[in-house]
């Protein structure tokens, strides 16, 4: 397969993740469409769509027949299935806000305005229950992760790292820059599971 720069790029084959799961490179298609497609396959009980990989999980040993199905995923549309629109209420008072402003050579107000103005898409979900990696961050706010991760990031923390933003649904160790916190509920609840799903669009409001 040739990539956008005309160079031959190697796509790793479908790999076995033990005897009940397969892992493969994430196809260039909307994640919600990938999820919907694979969950309709026989014997598939679930899937994880990570940044660069997809894993599908089976209740029996998967046969080799899935390789052809997996290849076809690349033909799925790029535009996502229309999801829900979220307005998540936040307070921009994170511990790292001043440091982010310094590093990005913006004022605190400009950092907040840039983060607040964008509309975000769910790129992948993982790490913690309900932890959604959101694409759409203003490029001026791109920063590498903290050199030393925090031992404990509080639940509800609004954070940025790399090209993404996210909310920590539960307290956990974490290396992202904390710029605020969610003030209108949880990102994962016993009643509804994850608040955000593939295809959803997210805005942060104060």
């Amino acid at each position: 397969m040739w990539d956008a720069f005309g160079e031959l790029c190697y796509r790793p084959p479908v790999e076995r993740l033990g005897d009940r799961a397969l892992r493969f490179a994430r196809p260039h298609a909307a994640p919600g469409r990938i999820l919907e497609a694979v969950r309709a396959w026989p014997d598939v009980i679930d899937a994880v769509i990570a940044a660069h990989d997809v894993a599908i999980y089976f209740d029996a040993e998967p046969s080799d027949d899935y390789e052809a199905l997996i290849e076809e995923l690349a033909t799925l549309p790029l535009d996502s299935i229309a999801g829900r629109e979220h307005e998540i209420r936040v307070a921009y008072d994170g511990e790292d806000l001043a440091a982010v402003a310094t590093t990005t050579r913006l004022s605190v107000a400009e950092v907040v305005a840039a983060h607040h103005a964008a509309t975000y898409d769910v790129a992948s979900i993982g790490f913690l229950p309900g932890f959604a990696y959101l694409d759409g961050l203003d490029p001026r706010l791109e920063l590498p992760r903290r050199e030393t991760p925090r031992a404990r990031v509080p639940a509800g923390a609004l954070a940025i790292a790399g090209t993404q933003t996210a909310v920590y649904p539960f307290a956990s160790p974490g290396g992202w820059h904390l710029i605020g916190r969610v003030i209108d509920g949880s990102m994962f609840t016993p009643e509804h599971g994850a608040r955000l799903a593939f295809g959803d669009r997210v805005r942060f409001v104060t």
Binding site: A21, E61, P129, P169, G193
Partner: protein, 267 residues
Amino acid sequence: MSLVVVRALGLVTVQDGGRAGYMHEGLAPGGALVRSALVAANRAASNDDFAPAIEVLGRLTVRAEAATAIATDRISRRMLEGELVIESEPQRATYLALRGGVSAPMILGSASTHVAAQLGQPLAPGQRVVSAGAAVRVAKAPAPQRGGAIRVLPGPDAYAFSPDALAALVSAPYRMSPTSDRVGTRLVGPIIARSSAPDRSRPTVKGAVEVPRDGQPIVLGPEHPTTGGYPIVGVIASTDLDRFFAMRIGGEIVFEVGHVATSRARS
């Protein structure tokens, strides 16, 4: 039929077969650490195989408030009113079943407590445990499992290891660290040498043998994160997971290299 928790040491939770179907939301299925032991306790109590029961990782003392039919994977008996039972075994996990199943709220399709996702809560002293009163059924005790080494299917992350990584894993026994929990079982033994490849966050699976920078492997348990940054040197064969998780803390584990085809043939 009801019990009261007198003491709970370690982690004591209600577990059933877990909640499949939420991995895409970042939630691993959870459920009993040793599924066959849950099934055995439930069959001894004349329950459905995956009825909710109490998983004891540590020690539990309960008192019967009334005559109560209980079972573990080895015994089935009737507790008299006021009687105390202490459940603590040389094995890592034991299951205390009540006839009719343990009554617990169904959350996202399961009664299993999932600590990380704050679904349910560990049992605490004073808490009542009541039978759900489900219909009784009779089934044979499950077949005993074979002994011997735990088979590890070679993992997909060979790029992140030196070529002799699997050989190191099977070269000598590992010990189960007391810091193990339902998220991961930490092993102490031969160092698995890693290449300088950076950590990449990728999908995980229960039974995956992850290797952090220090080279001491961690086997992912039922409450594992759905993605993880440590490369996977191998994955325990699904038919050997229960034997692995049943091993006691401090006990020795011997691995051998398995293959997908043979794991199916032997199951």
